[in-house]
């Protein structure tokens, strides 16, 4: 088993961190996933939905990495998909490329708040999982 698959205890702690999203307006669910698309922890998403979010999120993070590299812009940090029903933001956790966080928010969310909360959350997760 590789080092980027956190132990069960760490996954439990990560889930606690994600629970903080309960206080952010408009957030529907959040999924922490490995770069190869496995869910590590989730908040307010059922198992099937979080598995799919993890897979699609990891593709987007990998495409983001490829695109930033192609443009000579260094490492991928985050991407936000905005649609008429809301927004999904995908942000890298910590300095390694091993994990990202996807957060789904409805129309009532304020994008700036969402990004700020997500950055805070990623920092907390990085301390916890990627010291």
């Amino acid at each position: 088993m590789s080092k980027v698959r956190p132990a069960k205890l760490s996954r439990e702690l990560a889930r606690k961190v994600l629970e903080g999203y309960g206080e952010v307006a408009g957030v529907q669910c959040a999924v922490l996933f490995s770069s190869d698309g496995f869910e590590i922890a989730s908040h307010a998403a059922d198992a099937a939905a979080s598995a799919r979010l993890a897979a699609i999120g990891s593709s987007l993070a990998a495409l983001g990495t490829a695109l930033a590299g192609e443009a000579g812009l260094g490492d991928f940090e985050r991407t936000t998909i905005e649609s008429n029903g809301g927004a999904v933001t995908i942000m890298r956790v910590g300095s390694s490329r091993s994990m990202s966080l996807a957060v789904v928010a409805g129309k009532d969310a304020v994008l700036g708040q969402l990004l700020w909360a997500t950055q805070r959350c990623c920092q907390a997760l990085a301390k916890l999982l990627d010291p």
Partner: protein, 187 residues
Amino acid sequence: MSGVEAGEFKIVFTGPMGAGKTTAIAAISEGEPVRTEVENTDRVAHAKESTTVGFDFGRITLADGSVVRLYGTPGQVRYRFMWDILGRGAAGVIVLLDASAPGALVQLDVFVDAFIPHVAHGALVVGVGRTDVPNAPSTDAFAARLDARGIVAPVLSVDVRRQGDVMMLVRTLVCILGSHTAHGVPA
């Protein structure tokens, strides 16, 4: 339907994890292909170090300036959504398999089922690696599997690390496309 009207000619390489899709595209693409490989954290499923989670992208430019796009899909079923995105509008599909992997024959079914709906002109070619490993199914076993489903598609043993072998797969695909255009039953 093929996407030639849209100025796009796309060949998709697909197949399970570790079959050599990224290697195959790198073998024939001009320049360095786009890769979206990340660390594989599920070494129980497959021992390889990295795996494609977005797509591979390479290209071949023809003498008249038009471009053939080569896409490689992720191999794992949880990336099925990418299969459909990449398969749409493909002129042809090359399924790569590792004969020595457990369940290789079942994998053939999985990928044929997923990509047949995208392929017009019957343009499907199967490349099978590592048929020389003891107890691995032969290419005949894969062909028989297609026969049983009424599909006539070439099954060729290949080593995708060899450029010549990958080109053989592409040539075979192009011959099929040409035959169906010239001699096929009109739609």
